[in-house]
Amino acid sequence: MHSREIHSEAFDWVVKLERGLNPDEQSLLDCWLALDTRCVGALARAQAYRVYAEGIKKFSDAQKLQLHANASEYSSHQ
Protein backbone atom coordinates (compact mmCIF):
# COMPACT_ATOMS: atom_id res chain seq x y z
CA MET A 1 0.00 0.00 0.00
CA HIS A 2 1.10 3.51 -0.69
CA SER A 3 1.28 5.89 2.26
CA ARG A 4 -1.02 8.36 0.45
CA GLU A 5 -3.70 5.71 0.21
CA ILE A 6 -3.33 4.89 3.91
CA HIS A 7 -3.42 8.61 4.69
CA SER A 8 -6.69 9.02 2.80
CA GLU A 9 -8.35 5.93 4.31
CA ALA A 10 -7.35 7.04 7.81
CA PHE A 11 -9.49 10.18 7.46
CA ASP A 12 -12.42 8.12 6.18
CA TRP A 13 -12.16 6.06 9.37
CA VAL A 14 -11.96 9.09 11.61
CA VAL A 15 -15.24 10.39 10.19
CA LYS A 16 -16.89 7.00 10.65
CA LEU A 17 -15.53 6.71 14.22
CA GLU A 18 -17.05 10.06 15.06
CA ARG A 19 -20.57 8.84 14.20
CA GLY A 20 -19.98 5.32 15.58
CA LEU A 21 -19.18 2.07 13.77
CA ASN A 22 -21.53 -0.81 13.07
CA PRO A 23 -20.17 -4.32 13.79
CA ASP A 24 -19.17 -4.92 10.16
CA GLU A 25 -17.27 -1.66 10.06
CA GLN A 26 -15.59 -2.49 13.37
CA SER A 27 -14.29 -5.76 11.90
CA LEU A 28 -13.12 -3.96 8.80
CA LEU A 29 -11.29 -1.37 10.88
CA ASP A 30 -9.61 -4.10 12.97
CA CYS A 31 -8.40 -5.79 9.77
CA TRP A 32 -7.24 -2.51 8.27
CA LEU A 33 -5.23 -1.63 11.39
CA ALA A 34 -3.60 -5.06 11.36
CA LEU A 35 -2.47 -4.65 7.74
CA ASP A 36 0.45 -2.37 8.36
CA THR A 37 1.93 -0.35 11.21
CA ARG A 38 1.52 2.72 9.03
CA CYS A 39 -2.27 2.32 9.28
CA VAL A 40 -2.03 2.53 13.08
CA GLY A 41 0.05 5.68 12.82
CA ALA A 42 -2.02 7.26 10.09
CA LEU A 43 -5.23 6.76 12.09
CA ALA A 44 -3.72 8.28 15.26
CA ARG A 45 -2.45 11.18 13.18
CA ALA A 46 -5.84 11.72 11.56
CA GLN A 47 -7.49 11.60 14.99
CA ALA A 48 -5.07 14.28 16.16
CA TYR A 49 -5.95 16.47 13.17
CA ARG A 50 -9.63 16.03 13.98
CA VAL A 51 -8.90 17.36 17.48
CA TYR A 52 -6.89 20.20 15.98
CA ALA A 53 -9.74 21.13 13.63
CA GLU A 54 -12.05 21.52 16.65
CA GLY A 55 -10.22 24.83 17.08
CA ILE A 56 -12.86 26.13 14.65
CA LYS A 57 -15.09 26.57 17.70
CA LYS A 58 -12.70 29.23 19.04
CA PHE A 59 -12.80 31.39 15.91
CA SER A 60 -13.63 35.06 16.18
CA ASP A 61 -17.13 36.16 15.23
CA ALA A 62 -15.80 37.73 12.02
CA GLN A 63 -14.13 34.48 11.00
CA LYS A 64 -17.25 32.51 11.83
CA LEU A 65 -19.39 34.87 9.78
CA GLN A 66 -17.12 34.59 6.77
CA LEU A 67 -17.06 30.81 6.73
CA HIS A 68 -20.74 30.67 7.44
CA ALA A 69 -21.53 33.01 4.56
CA ASN A 70 -19.52 30.76 2.21
CA ALA A 71 -21.36 27.67 3.37
CA SER A 72 -24.79 29.30 3.13
CA GLU A 73 -24.07 30.56 -0.34
CA TYR A 74 -23.00 27.11 -1.42
CA SER A 75 -25.97 25.30 0.12
CA SER A 76 -28.48 27.78 -1.32
CA HIS A 77 -27.30 26.87 -4.81
CA GLN A 78 -27.78 23.16 -4.28
Partner: protein, 213 residues
Protein backbone atom coordinates in the same frame (compact mmCIF):
# COMPACT_ATOMS: atom_id res chain seq x y z
CA UNK B 1 10.28 12.11 -4.63
CA UNK B 2 10.94 8.53 -3.61
CA UNK B 3 8.35 5.80 -3.73
CA UNK B 4 6.34 4.80 -0.75
CA UNK B 5 7.09 1.27 0.31
CA UNK B 6 4.67 -1.33 -0.93
CA UNK B 7 5.61 -4.14 1.44
CA UNK B 8 3.57 -3.97 4.63
CA UNK B 9 5.26 -3.98 8.01
CA UNK B 10 3.11 -5.66 10.56
CA UNK B 11 3.51 -4.90 14.22
CA UNK B 12 5.40 -7.83 15.71
CA UNK B 13 3.88 -7.46 19.14
CA UNK B 14 0.72 -9.23 18.06
CA UNK B 15 -1.22 -6.90 20.32
CA UNK B 16 -4.62 -5.81 19.18
CA UNK B 17 -4.48 -2.25 17.91
CA UNK B 18 -7.28 0.24 18.08
CA UNK B 19 -7.86 3.94 17.55
CA UNK B 20 -6.10 6.10 20.15
CA UNK B 21 -7.97 7.46 23.15
CA UNK B 22 -9.22 11.01 23.09
CA UNK B 23 -6.50 11.94 25.59
CA UNK B 24 -3.79 10.58 23.32
CA UNK B 25 -5.27 12.35 20.30
CA UNK B 26 -5.23 15.59 22.31
CA UNK B 27 -1.62 15.02 23.30
CA UNK B 28 -0.58 14.34 19.71
CA UNK B 29 -2.47 17.41 18.49
CA UNK B 30 -0.77 19.61 21.06
CA UNK B 31 2.79 18.29 21.03
CA UNK B 32 3.44 16.47 17.76
CA UNK B 33 1.34 18.03 14.99
CA UNK B 34 3.06 21.43 15.26
CA UNK B 35 6.45 19.73 14.72
CA UNK B 36 5.50 18.09 11.45
CA UNK B 37 6.42 20.84 8.97
CA UNK B 38 9.90 21.23 10.40
CA UNK B 39 10.32 17.46 10.64
CA UNK B 40 9.54 17.17 6.93
CA UNK B 41 12.15 19.82 6.19
CA UNK B 42 14.65 18.06 8.43
CA UNK B 43 14.05 14.72 6.70
CA UNK B 44 14.56 16.26 3.30
CA UNK B 45 17.95 17.48 4.43
CA UNK B 46 19.08 14.50 6.45
CA UNK B 47 17.40 11.35 5.17
CA UNK B 48 18.47 9.42 2.09
CA UNK B 49 16.28 9.56 -1.01
CA UNK B 50 15.12 6.03 -0.29
CA UNK B 51 13.18 7.22 2.72
CA UNK B 52 9.68 8.41 2.08
CA UNK B 53 8.74 11.03 4.65
CA UNK B 54 5.07 9.98 4.72
CA UNK B 55 5.97 6.36 5.51
CA UNK B 56 8.32 7.40 8.24
CA UNK B 57 5.92 9.86 9.82
CA UNK B 58 3.13 7.31 9.86
CA UNK B 59 5.47 4.83 11.53
CA UNK B 60 6.51 7.46 14.07
CA UNK B 61 2.88 8.17 14.94
CA UNK B 62 2.32 4.42 15.27
CA UNK B 63 5.04 4.31 17.94
CA UNK B 64 3.51 7.27 19.76
CA UNK B 65 0.02 5.78 19.45
CA UNK B 66 0.99 2.46 20.99
CA UNK B 67 3.03 3.74 23.96
CA UNK B 68 1.40 2.69 27.21
CA UNK B 69 1.73 6.23 28.51
CA UNK B 70 3.02 9.58 27.32
CA UNK B 71 2.81 11.36 30.67
CA UNK B 72 6.54 10.76 31.30
CA UNK B 73 7.59 12.46 28.07
CA UNK B 74 8.91 15.84 29.12
CA UNK B 75 10.41 16.85 25.80
CA UNK B 76 8.12 15.65 23.02
CA UNK B 77 10.32 17.13 20.28
CA UNK B 78 13.45 15.30 21.42
CA UNK B 79 11.40 12.15 21.83
CA UNK B 80 9.92 12.44 18.33
CA UNK B 81 13.34 12.91 16.73
CA UNK B 82 14.69 9.97 18.70
CA UNK B 83 11.92 7.79 17.26
CA UNK B 84 12.50 9.14 13.77
CA UNK B 85 16.26 8.51 13.92
CA UNK B 86 15.66 4.99 15.17
CA UNK B 87 13.23 4.34 12.28
CA UNK B 88 15.79 5.74 9.81
CA UNK B 89 18.46 3.45 11.20
CA UNK B 90 16.17 0.44 10.87
CA UNK B 91 15.36 1.40 7.30
CA UNK B 92 19.00 1.81 6.29
CA UNK B 93 19.92 -1.51 7.86
CA UNK B 94 17.05 -3.17 6.03
CA UNK B 95 18.13 -1.75 2.71
CA UNK B 96 21.82 -2.31 3.37
CA UNK B 97 22.48 0.80 1.34
CA UNK B 98 24.36 2.70 3.94
CA UNK B 99 27.56 1.83 5.70
CA UNK B 100 27.60 1.16 9.42
CA UNK B 101 29.49 4.43 9.85
CA UNK B 102 26.64 6.34 8.27
CA UNK B 103 24.16 4.60 10.50
CA UNK B 104 26.23 5.70 13.47
CA UNK B 105 26.19 9.23 12.13
CA UNK B 106 22.41 9.35 12.29
CA UNK B 107 22.62 9.51 16.05
CA UNK B 108 24.87 12.55 15.70
CA UNK B 109 22.27 14.46 13.72
CA UNK B 110 20.67 17.11 15.80
CA UNK B 111 17.02 17.96 15.59
CA UNK B 112 16.07 20.95 13.53
CA UNK B 113 18.56 23.74 14.14
CA UNK B 114 17.17 25.92 16.88
CA UNK B 115 18.83 29.00 15.45
CA UNK B 116 17.89 28.30 11.84
CA UNK B 117 14.62 29.03 10.12
CA UNK B 118 11.84 29.94 12.51
CA UNK B 119 9.94 27.08 13.99
CA UNK B 120 6.32 26.52 13.33
CA UNK B 121 5.52 26.40 16.97
CA UNK B 122 2.90 29.03 16.91
CA UNK B 123 1.02 30.75 19.62
CA UNK B 124 -2.55 29.70 20.14
CA UNK B 125 -3.75 32.71 18.20
CA UNK B 126 -1.50 32.06 15.20
CA UNK B 127 -2.51 28.43 15.29
CA UNK B 128 -6.14 29.45 14.98
CA UNK B 129 -5.30 31.82 12.12
CA UNK B 130 -3.61 29.00 10.23
CA UNK B 131 -6.57 26.75 10.83
CA UNK B 132 -8.89 29.45 9.58
CA UNK B 133 -6.98 29.84 6.32
CA UNK B 134 -6.78 26.07 5.87
CA UNK B 135 -10.57 25.85 6.23
CA UNK B 136 -11.10 28.90 4.07
CA UNK B 137 -9.02 27.30 1.30
CA UNK B 138 -11.21 24.17 1.18
CA UNK B 139 -13.13 23.43 -2.01
CA UNK B 140 -16.72 24.72 -1.64
CA UNK B 141 -18.45 21.30 -1.30
CA UNK B 142 -16.12 20.11 1.46
CA UNK B 143 -16.17 23.49 3.16
CA UNK B 144 -19.97 23.58 3.30
CA UNK B 145 -20.15 20.16 4.93
CA UNK B 146 -17.40 21.03 7.39
CA UNK B 147 -19.01 24.30 8.44
CA UNK B 148 -22.53 22.87 8.70
CA UNK B 149 -21.20 20.09 10.91
CA UNK B 150 -18.79 22.03 13.09
CA UNK B 151 -20.58 25.37 13.44
CA UNK B 152 -24.21 24.47 13.03
CA UNK B 153 -23.68 21.05 14.57
CA UNK B 154 -26.11 19.55 12.10
CA UNK B 155 -26.31 15.77 11.95
CA UNK B 156 -25.10 13.96 8.84
CA UNK B 157 -28.71 13.36 7.87
CA UNK B 158 -29.56 17.05 8.17
CA UNK B 159 -26.51 18.04 6.15
CA UNK B 160 -27.42 15.50 3.47
CA UNK B 161 -30.95 16.93 3.25
CA UNK B 162 -29.70 20.52 3.16
CA UNK B 163 -27.21 19.85 0.36
CA UNK B 164 -29.29 17.24 -1.49
CA UNK B 165 -26.57 14.63 -1.30
CA UNK B 166 -26.38 11.16 0.28
CA UNK B 167 -25.15 10.67 3.83
CA UNK B 168 -22.33 8.66 2.35
CA UNK B 169 -21.32 11.71 0.34
CA UNK B 170 -21.46 13.85 3.48
CA UNK B 171 -18.92 11.51 5.07
CA UNK B 172 -16.71 11.56 1.99
CA UNK B 173 -16.66 15.35 1.93
CA UNK B 174 -16.00 15.54 5.65
CA UNK B 175 -13.05 13.19 5.20
CA UNK B 176 -11.77 15.29 2.30
CA UNK B 177 -12.08 18.43 4.38
CA UNK B 178 -10.10 17.05 7.31
CA UNK B 179 -7.49 15.60 4.99
CA UNK B 180 -7.02 18.87 3.12
CA UNK B 181 -6.70 20.74 6.40
CA UNK B 182 -4.06 18.25 7.56
CA UNK B 183 -2.16 18.49 4.27
CA UNK B 184 -2.16 22.25 4.49
CA UNK B 185 -1.07 22.42 8.13
CA UNK B 186 1.60 19.71 7.89
CA UNK B 187 3.40 20.72 4.72
CA UNK B 188 6.72 22.46 5.03
CA UNK B 189 7.42 25.68 3.19
CA UNK B 190 10.07 24.32 0.87
CA UNK B 191 8.22 21.15 0.02
CA UNK B 192 6.89 20.16 -3.39
CA UNK B 193 3.37 20.15 -2.17
CA UNK B 194 1.13 17.45 -3.56
CA UNK B 195 -1.74 18.48 -5.80
CA UNK B 196 -4.76 19.30 -3.71
CA UNK B 197 -2.74 20.44 -0.76
CA UNK B 198 -1.19 23.40 -2.47
CA UNK B 199 -1.40 26.59 -0.52
CA UNK B 200 -3.42 29.38 -1.94
CA UNK B 201 -1.45 32.58 -2.55
CA UNK B 202 -3.29 34.32 0.25
CA UNK B 203 -2.41 31.52 2.60
CA UNK B 204 1.24 31.63 1.65
CA UNK B 205 1.20 35.39 2.01
CA UNK B 206 -0.37 35.05 5.41
CA UNK B 207 2.25 32.59 6.53
CA UNK B 208 5.15 34.66 5.40
CA UNK B 209 3.83 37.76 7.12
CA UNK B 210 2.43 36.25 10.28
CA UNK B 211 5.64 34.69 11.39
CA UNK B 212 7.36 38.05 11.54
CA UNK B 213 4.46 39.69 13.26
Amino acid sequence: MSHSRLEPRIASSGLAVSPVSNDRAQWLAKHILPLEPQLRGWLRKNASKSIEADDLIQDAYAKLATLASVSEIERPKAYLYQIVKSLMTDEYRREKIVSIESVAEISELSPHDETGSPERILSGHQDLERLFWAINALPAPAKAVFVLKKFDELSQREIAARLHISENMVEKRMSQALRAIADNISSSDDEDILPGSRLTPVNRFFRSTSRHA
